[in-house]
């Protein structure tokens, strides 16, 4: 019976989706290895303790709350030191992180501090006696690697969405934990955190993504994509590298090999030909729809459903139909 650790990421006093996924994964790992405990650690400004109950619902037996003014914004050095110290003292079999932006920053720091190897951005894992077998897409998603990690603790970060959050309520204990070192003495200081673009839904969290490419011909035509996203509701707007290179959209919206890798429930590609470097970013979406006037466009080979036609005619019609279907 092994104990598992999960880092619960939070921002502005609220848990991130990755926190629930990490705890869920830790719970699954614990259950698969004899039903041991899951300890989750959350760090934030005082008041953060209110999230403990949600962590318990997702399978944590013990929630360690590190509440300190110095954790109001992400404080990588102090969080890493605190987490590493806890993992080191706690005798955990494995430590789970979400491979979110913060998690991708934190987990290797922790592994580095502990002097252990880690496996990052995983789509699957199995905890064995001496090794942990993991799965991870490599070569920009064109190949899936199965890897073996040895050493304890096994530090693992999970690709967002790989282990969907699930509720397995436990009898919860909550403990306050002091930060290790002085959080106000960190060398790396987050001086500002501002939401990007009018509270847009983030590509990594949206259930539906509508993405636009060169076929839109001009930056202002992205309004077609935005309208369609609005019709779906709960949809984020993405872009190809071609249009972010041209300055039509923010580079942070780029989906592809050197941009965001996304895996939404539904991906609608508008005026996107389907260059390999773009496909690398969205090929694991559950359902893909493509609208393009070129029936030989490569996107149609991986799209589940396609409409060949002029997007300037098709998309407004689709927006209207989706609005009606959603009962708006």
């Amino acid at each position: 019976m092994a104990t598992m650790f999960a880092f619960a990421e939070s921002r502005n006093g609220a848990l991130r989706k990755g926190a629930l996924e990490a705890v869920t994964a830790a719970r699954q790992a614990a259950d698969a290895t004899g039903g041991g405990e899951v300890h989750a650690l959350v760090a934030g400004a005082p008041g953060i303790e209110t999230v403990a109950e949600t962590l318990g619902r997702h399978g944590a037996d013990l929630v360690l709350v590190v509440a300190h003014e110095g954790f109001g914004r992400y404080n990588p050095e102090a969080v890493a030191a605190t987490v590493a110290a806890r993992i080191s003292a706690g005798g955990y079999r494995a430590a789970f992180f979400a491979a979110s932006a913060e998690g991708r920053d934190l987990a290797p720091r922790v592994a580095g501090a502990l002097g252990v190897a880690m496996a990052a951005d995983l789509t699957g894992f199995e905890i064995g006696a001496d090794t942990v077998t993991v799965r991870h897409p490599v070569y920009t998603g064109k190949v899936v690697a199965t890897l073996e990690l040895t050493g304890t603790p096994a530090v693992l970060s999970l690709r967002p969405g790989a282990v969907p959050a699930a509720e397995t309520p436990r009898t919860l204990k909550v403990e306050a934990m002091a930060p290790v070192g002085d959080p106000t003495a960190s060398r790396v200081v987050t001086t500002d955190l501002s939401p990007r673009g009018a509270a847009k839904l983030d590509l990594g969290e949206a259930r539906i993504i509508v993405a636009g490419g060169r076929g839109l011909k001009a930056a202002e035509h992205f309004s077609l994509v935005e309208d369609l996203a609005g019709a779906f509701g709960q949809a984020a707007v993405g872009a190809t590298r071609a249009v972010t290179d041209d300055g039509w959209r923010d580079p942070a919206d780029q989906i592809g090999q050197t941009g965001r890798i996304v895996s939404p429930d539904l991906y609608v590609a508008v005026g996107i030909s389907g260059a390999i470097q773009h496909l690398a970013g969205m090929r694991t979406s559950r359902v893909i729809v493509a609208i393009n006037r070129d029936k030989d466009a490569p996107i149609f080979k991986i799209a589940d459903y396609g409409i060949v036609g002029d997007l300037f005619e098709v998309v407004p019609r689709l927006t209207e139909a989706v609005r009606q279907a959603q009962g708006q």
Partner: protein, 399 residues
């Protein structure tokens, strides 16, 4: 090795590990030009071709990377590359478009080369760095309306006067002729039937009496400036003459340089067409299978691959001979003749494989096909090179 249907970035054609025969810096030069073509030329070339416009805005970028006169020495502001690397530049430029490669050929082999080979030190130190930087654009005035394959018959004259040389005549089919700031004009200083009196002159195109006129209505090399030059009592100073040039041999030496580059360039055009054909064939489905799985298209692709592969090794050896100083003009004739001819066939066959889509400007093969007809004809027509080779091996002139 190219495989069907990758539909991605151009990766050249290398069936016999040709790359292993290149030096590291030769590969690096090739990769640089390839990346530049991908980023700056490919997005606009279709439109330029249709509009009949040379993309002048690309000149500074090409100059900054050192594409002009790249095989000339560093002391004159040039990159100082060997001739294989120079050839690879031409290959990669022409993979984009023959018109863009023509620009670089003229600037480098037909303007900078003669200044370097035949010019005074003052001419070299003034003109070469400026031409390398693209602040001066050159053209080469040899061909005339009635003297194409037979340039030694030219009737442009240069009369010596107290104030300098007075040039009169018309040149035709001159690449860069309208946008050039400087021209290398070949003219007879003696009798019109005396080719040994041919001399070369550096003539700024702003000189009074000099007019460049675009030749309209082209169905080939549309993304290139092809012009007539009219010289009406154009007066240039005595020191405008290239001191070491004399007779028809001098301009022919320049042509040998350009033809060498074209031999490589044609391979680039053929590669572009083959690459387009193989990607298209892998994706185009007809009768429930990709057309890449049909016998006739596989024969097409095999033929193209074979011709490209043969040309690569032929031309690499030509480049090594040039670097060793032993290359002969007849050897260049063989390569130019072969490579351009095979490239025209690759372009045509690729165009046919593409079916109806192949007539659209968004595909490249038909543009290459049209361009290559000019390349077949210029810098020594295919037929002229046949006679050069015939004479070389029989000792008998059939001109």
């Amino acid at each position: 090795m190219s495989t069907a249907g990758s539909g991605s970035r151009f990766a050249g054609v290398d069936f016999y590990d040709f790359d292993s025969l290149l030096r590291e810096e030769e590969r690096a030069v090739r990769d640089t030009v390839r990346a530049w073509v991908d980023e700056h030329l490919m997005p606009i070339i279709g439109d330029c071709y249709i509009e009949g416009r040379f993309p002048r805005q690309l000149i500074p970028g090409m100059a900054e990377l050192g594409f002009f006169g790249a095989n000339l020495p560093e002391e004159y502001g040039c990159a100082g590359l060997n001739n294989v690397a120079y050839g690879l530049i031409m290959q990669e430029l022409e993979r984009g478009d023959s018109g863009i490669r023509s620009f670089a050929s003229v600037q480098g082999a037909l303007v900078m080369y003669p200044i370097h080979a035949f010019g005074s030190e003052a001419q070299k130190t003034y003109w070469l760095p400026r031409l390398a930087e693209g602040t001066e654009i050159g053209c080469f005035g040899l061909t005339e309306p009635d003297y194409g394959s037979n340039p030694s018959g030219m009737i442009t004259t240069a009369r010596e006067t107290a104030d300098g040389w007075l040039l009169n005549g018309v040149k035709m089919w001159i690449t860069n002729g309208s946008q050039a700031t400087v021209s290398i004009i070949w003219a007879k200083t003696g009798a019109v039937d005396d080719p040994s009196s041919i001399r070369g002159f550096i003539v700024p195109t702003s000189t009074k009496g000099f007019t460049g006129r675009d030749q309209k209505g082209k169905l080939s090399l549309r993304a290139s400036d092809t012009s007539e030059l009219h010289l009406q009592d154009v007066l240039v100073p005595k020191d405008a003459m290239l001191p070491a040039a004399g007779g028809i041999k001098s301009p022919l030496m320049c042509l040998t340089q350009a033809r060498y580059g074209i031999s490589w360039g044609a391979i680039g055009a053929a590669m572009a067409c083959y690459d387009e054909a193989i990607n298209y064939a892998g994706q185009r489905v007809m009768f429930d299978r990709p057309i890449a799985q049909t016998q006739i298209q596989q024969v097409r692709l095999a033929d193209m691959l074979t011709e490209i592969t043969k040309a690569q090794f032929l031309t690499l050896q030509l480049g090594r001979l040039k670097d060793a100083g032993t290359m002969t003009p007849q050897q260049v004739s063989l390569a130019k003749r072969n490579n351009v001819n095979m490239a025209t066939e690759c372009a045509r066959e690729s165009r046919r494989l593409l079916g109806a889509n192949g007539i659209l400007a968004e595909y490249h093969s038909m543009r290459h096909m049209a361009n290559l007809e000019s390349v077949y004809t210029y810098e020594g027509t295919h037929d002229m090179h046949s006679l050069i080779l015939g004479q070389a091996v029989t000792g008998l002139s059939a001109f």
